[in-house]
C-alpha cells in the first residue's frame, strides 16, 4: 500500500505525454472536433455540477428568504443583500462556532504531528526490539474498521482508564483520539525510513543522541511529508461530524459542523445559507491557493485509507 505514495510522484502529469490518443490522432480533423466537443461538454458539465452549487449558495445567502424559496433561480431580483452575513455573525454567534472549529483543528494538528513524528522516528530510525511489535499493532488498526470501537472509544473518553477523568465536553476529547492516526504514523515512518542511514551513522559518530538527530536531521528533512500529514489532519478535523457531536454535548463548545444541522431549523433560511457559505468558502479558498498539495494529499490518503 505504501508504494502508492511513491507511484504518485511518478504520476505527476507531464503535459507532453500522450494518452490514449496519439499526436497523429489529434491531427485528424474528426478526432480534433470530437475531442473539442467532448472536452467542452465535460468542462461545462463539471462547471455546472461542481461550481454551480457553490455559486447558488452564494446567491441564496445574498438574497432574501422569500426570493430563494419562491424562485430559486432568479438572480438577485431585489439586489444583493449582505445583511444575512452580518446577522449570522452577530445574532447567531457564528464566530464562536468558528473559533471552536479552529481550536479543534489546531489541537488535532499539534497532537497528531507530535505522535506521528516521534512515533515514525522511533519506528523507522531508532528501531528498538519492540518496534516490530508496535509497528504490527499500528498496522493492524488500519484493518480493524473504526466502527468497532466507536462506542468503546466513547466510553473510554468519558472515563479515561487509570486516571478516571471524563473528557466529555472538553476539546481534549476530540484532540486525543484524533492523534491515534495510523495513516499519519505510517506515512512518517515510510518517509523517515527513506532517509539515508549514513546520515544517522555519521551523526552518531559525531556524538549526536536521538534527540539531536531528531531535531537536526529528521525534522528539517521531512518538511514535505509534514506538510502532507498536516493538510490531511486539518482537512479531516474540519470535516469531522459524528465524533464532536458525541463528545461535545454543550452547544457552546461545538464546531461549525455540529452546530449547522442544529441551526438549520432555528434560524432564517437566508441566514442559514450565509452560514453554509461561510463554512465552505474558507476551505475552498485554501484549496485554490494550495491546489497541488491538496490533490497530492488526496492521492496519498486515497491509497492508504483502510
Amino acid at each position: 500500500m505504501t508504494t502508492a505514495t511513491t507511484s504518485r510522484s511518478r504520476a505527476e502529469p507531464e503535459p507532453s505525454e500522450r494518452g490514449i490518443l496519439s499526436f497523429l490522432d489529434r491531427r485528424r480533423p474528426t478526432v480534433r472536433a470530437a475531442v473539442g466537443v467532448i472536452g467542452t461538454l465535460v468542462l461545462a458539465g463539471l462547471a455546472i455540477l461542481c461550481a454551480g452549487p457553490l455559486f447558488w449558495l452564494f446567491k441564496a445567502a445574498t438574497s432574501t428568504t422569500t426570493e430563494t424559496l419562491s424562485a430559486p433561480f432568479s438572480l438577485w431580483p431585489s439586489g444583493i443583500h449582505w445583511d444575512s452575513f452580518v446577522q449570522v455573525w452577530t445574532r447567531v454567534d457564528f464566530g464562536r462556532y468558528f473559533w471552536n472549529t479552529l481550536a479543534l483543528m489546531a489541537g488535532s494538528l499539534c497532537l497528531g504531528l507530535l505522535v506521528a513524528t516521534t512515533g515514525g522516528y522511533g519506528l523507522a530510525v531508532l528501531r528498538p526490539k519492540y518496534a516490530k511489535a508496535v509497528f504490527a499493532a499500528i498496522l493492524a488498526t488500519l484493518f480493524i474498521p473504526g466502527v468497532i470501537s466507536l462506542v468503546a472509544l466513547y466510553l473510554t473518553v468519558i472515563d479515561i482508564p487509570l486516571v478516571h477523568v471524563s473528557l466529555l465536553g472538553s476539546m481534549w476529547a476530540v484532540w486525543l483520539p484524533s492523534s491515534a492516526n495510523a495513516v499519519n504514523v505510517l506515512l512518517m515512518q515510510r518517509f523517515f525510513a527513506n532517509i539515508p542511514r549514513e546520515l544517522f551513522n555519521a551523526a552518531r559518530i559525531d556524538g549526536a543522541g536521538p534527540f539531536r538527530m531528531f531535531f537536526s536531521i529528521v525534522l528539517p528533512m521531512s518538511r514535505p511529508i509534514i506538510g502532507v500529514v498536516s493538510l490531511l489532519t486539518l482537512v479531516a478535523s474540519y470535516k469531522e461530524f459524528l465524533w464532536p457531536l458525541l463528545v461535545l454535548p454543550n452547544p457552546q463548545d461545538q464546531p461549525i459542523s455540529v452546530a449547522l444541522p442544529r441551526l438549520q431549523s432555528s434560524i432564517d433560511f437566508s441566514q442559514f445559507m450565509a452560514a453554509l457559505f461561510i463554512s465552505v468558502i474558507i476551505p475552498v479558498g485554501l484549496f485554490l491557493v494550495l491546489q497541488r498539495q491538496f490533490l497530492q494529499a488526496a492521492g496519498n490518503a486515497g491509497a492508504l485509507k483502510g
Binding site: 500500500m1 490514449i20 463539471l46 452549487p53 419562491s70 430559486p72 466502527v147 486525543l176 492521492g299
Partner: protein, 306 residues
C-alpha cells in the same frame, strides 16, 4: 504491550543501567506519545468492545450477559431493514458512483490545456465539509414545486418530485448527494493512474493498428485493474459505514427506508443507552468489513508487486 518495556525489577538493575546508557530510555521517550495515544484511544477501545459486547451496563452496575446482546441485535426487526437499506445504498452508490469517475478521468486525461482546471473543478465538491454539502443538498431536495431540483424538472415539464419524502426515492436521493460529494477523490486517483501508464504501450498498440476504443479496452482498463479493485473495495467499506448523510437528511425516514446499520448502532448506544447491544452490532459489522479489508490487503499486495 507496555509490560515488555516497563523497567524490570531490582535483580536486573545492571541490565537496566546498561539499557539506559545504551539509549534505551531516550528511545522509549520517543515512543511514549505513540504508545499512550494508541494504547488509550485505539488498542484499548478495540479490546473493550469485545468485553462490552458481553455486558449489560448502565454505569451504575454492569453484568455479564454472555451472547445476549448479539441475540437481541439479531432479534431486532429493524436489523434486517437497516442491513438491506445499507446494502441498497452500497449498490446504488456503485451503480451511480463507480463508472462516473473512471470515464471522467479518461476524458480529463485526454484534455491538455484544460486538464488543470478540470481537475480543480472535479475536486471542488470534495472540499465541501460533508455536513455543509449534505445540508445544501437537503435544501436542493425541497419537495415543494419551487424547490431547486423541482424547478429544474419544471423547465422540462416534469415533477414535482417528493425526493427525500418519497420512500422509494429517499435512498437514491441520498446516494446522489453522496456521489456528488465523493466522486472527485476517485477521479483524481484514477487520473494519476492514467498519467502513469507508459506511453510505449499505446504506441505499440497503435502500431498494431488498434483504434481508440480498442486501446482503451486493451490497455487503459487492464492497467487500471488493480486500482479499480482497490477503489471498489474502499467504496464498499465506506458505504457500509454511511451515517452522516441519512442522519442529517432524513434521520432514517420515511418509514425507516433510510435507516442504516451505523444509524442503528448510534440509536442503540446514544439514544437508548444500550451500549452492549450497540457494541455487539458494531462487532458484527466490523467482521464483515474486516473480511473486505482482507481482500483489500491482498489486492494491494498484488498491486505493489505488479
Amino acid at each position: 504491550m507496555t509490560d515488555a518495556i516497563i523497567t524490570p525489577k531490582s535483580g536486573r538493575s545492571r541490565r537496566v543501567a546498561r539499557w539506559v546508557r545504551g539509549g534505551g530510555l531516550s528511545t522509549l521517550v520517543f515512543f511514549i506519545p505513540l504508545l499512550v495515544s494508541f494504547g488509550l484511544f485505539s488498542w484499548w477501545p478495540v479490546l473493550r468492545s469485545l468485553l462490552l459486547s458481553l455486558q449489560r451496563t448502565n454505569f451504575l452496575t454492569s453484568e455479564w450477559v454472555g451472547l445476549d446482546n448479539f441475540a437481541r441485535v439479531l432479534q431486532d426487526p429493524l436489523l434486517l431493514t437497516a442491513v438491506s437499506n445499507t446494502v441498497w445504498f452500497s449498490v446504488l452508490a456503485f451503480v451511480i458512483g463507480f463508472p462516473v469517475p473512471v470515464l471522467l478521468a479518461v476524458f480529463i486525461a485526454e484534455l491538455r490545456r484544460a486538464r488543470k482546471i478540470a481537475s480543480a473543478l472535479v475536486y471542488l465538491p470534495v472540499i465541501f465539509p460533508p455536513v455543509v454539502a449534505v445540508l445544501l443538498w437537503k435544501a436542493f431536495f425541497d419537495p415543494s414545486p419551487q424547490g431547486v431540483f423541482n424547478s429544474i424538472l419544471g423547465w422540462f415539464n416534469l415533477g414535482p418530485v417528493a425526493w427525500l419524502n418519497n420512500g422509494d426515492l429517499a435512498m437514491p436521493s441520498i446516494v446522489l448527494q453522496a456521489t456528488w460529494a465523493s466522486f472527485g477523490t476517485a477521479t483524481i486517483i484514477y487520473l494519476a493512474t492514467l498519467m502513469s501508464i507508459q506511453t510505449e504501450l499505446y504506441d505499440a498498440a497503435e502500431a498494431d493498428g488498434a483504434g481508440v476504443l480498442r486501446r482503451f479496452w486493451h490497455i487503459t482498463l487492464p492497467q487500471m485493474r488493480t486500482v479499480l479493485l482497490v477503489m471498489l473495495l474502499l467504496q464498499i467499506i465506506g458505504t457500509f459505514q454511511v451515517f452522516t448523510e441519512p442522519y442529517i437528511m432524513t434521520n432514517g425516514g420515511p418509514e425507516n427506508r433510510t435507516v442504516t446499520i451505523l444509524m442503528l448502532i448510534y440509536r442503540y448506544a446514544f439514544i437508548s443507552g444500550d451500549y452492549g447491544r450497540a457494541t455487539a452490532l458494531s462487532i458484527l459489522l466490523a467482521l464483515v468489513l474486516s473480511a473486505l479489508s482482507a481482500v483489500y490487503l491482498s489486492a494491494t499486495r498484488r498491486w505493489s508487486t505488479s
